[in-house]
Amino acid sequence: MSLAARAIEEAGIPTVIVGSARDIVEHCGVPRFLFTDLPLGNPAGWPDRPDMQRDVVAMALRLLASAPGPRSTEVAPVTWKDDPGWRARYAHVDPEKMAKLRAEGEERRRRQAEAKALKDS
């Protein structure tokens, strides 16, 4: 998505990325970024919270108009629910489940090889 934002901006249309993987977006380098520090899946706010989603969109639109130059990041004043430990949960590597993860990886590589064979056919 960050690469798409760069291409759109190069075509002369201003963009804002709204989302949470701040390190990945800023590593790519984008014109404008509104950081919503929420779990991956809900970049615009909690599910079923239209008030929060509206505040996030309004902030992104104002950033679209007001950013002084490229690589402008703003931090939206949103936090996740009362759910301690959510940050540690995504893509967690449990040392006691290494064999299970390895087996999942094998299955994933098998499916990827199948998909590639179909594409190349």
Binding site: M1, S2, L3, A4, A5, R6, A7, I8, E9, E10, I13, P14, V16, I17, G19, A21, R22, D23, I24, H27, C28, G29, V30, D37, L38, P39, L40, G41, N42, P43, A44, W46, P47, D48, P50, Q53, R54, V57, A58, L61, R62, L64, A65, G69, P70, R71, G85, W86, R87, R89, Y90, A91, H92, M98, R102, E104, R108, A115, L118, K119
Partner: protein, 161 residues
């Protein structure tokens, strides 16, 4: 890790894929600079386009070999649900059953009624998340730009899941 330190997604992803047995780490796109364009009109006169990484419910963005393509849907009658299960997101912590939590069309329509923007463009757009930077740069991004220009989009908000 404290609960206020932003998650390091690159490091987390590297460690996860190593645990899955992948031999080489993913290389994220990296640029020291970024392009920059300004709104050609005041915000209140601007028509805004929305872009998502999700797929349509009928999977019509996929060809018969499983390849995924840029797609568009109507902003005046957006689907209640969009497909997200093929993407990497925190499926243990949250859900995507509320489409507006990742493609908040109604929020923009409400702000347009109040005069913050002129409105949304007739279509929102979907762009696949691809492993290959080249596919995004050479194929998907140019197609997305073409669609944005067709509808005279003045500005774009992108919501990666």
């Amino acid at each position: 890790m404290s609960d206020t330190t932003p998650t390091g997604y690159m490091e987390r992803t590297r460690l996860y894929y190593r645990a899955l047995g992948y031999g080489s780490d993913y290389v994220w796109a990296h640029h020291a600079d970024a392009p920059f364009a300004r709104l050609a009109k005041p915000l209140a006169e601007s028509r805004i386009a929305f872009v998502s990484t999700s797929s349509p419910p009928d999977r019509s963005n996929r060809d018969d070999k499983g390849g995924r393509h840029v797609w568009s849907g109507p902003t005046d009658a957006p689907p209640d649900r969009l497909l997200t299960h093929d993407l990497a997101w925190d499926k243990e912590t949250t859900h995507t059953r509320d489409r507006a939590s990742f493609l908040p069309i109604e929020a923009a329509q409400s702000l347009a009624r109040e005069g913050l923007i002129a409105g949304l463009t007739p279509s929102f757009h979907g762009i696949p998340t691809e492993y290959s930077h080249r596919k995004t740069i050479d194929v998907d991004a140019p197609e997305l730009v073409r669609r944005l220009r067709d509808e005279r989009s003045d500005g774009v908000l992108l919501f990666p899941i």
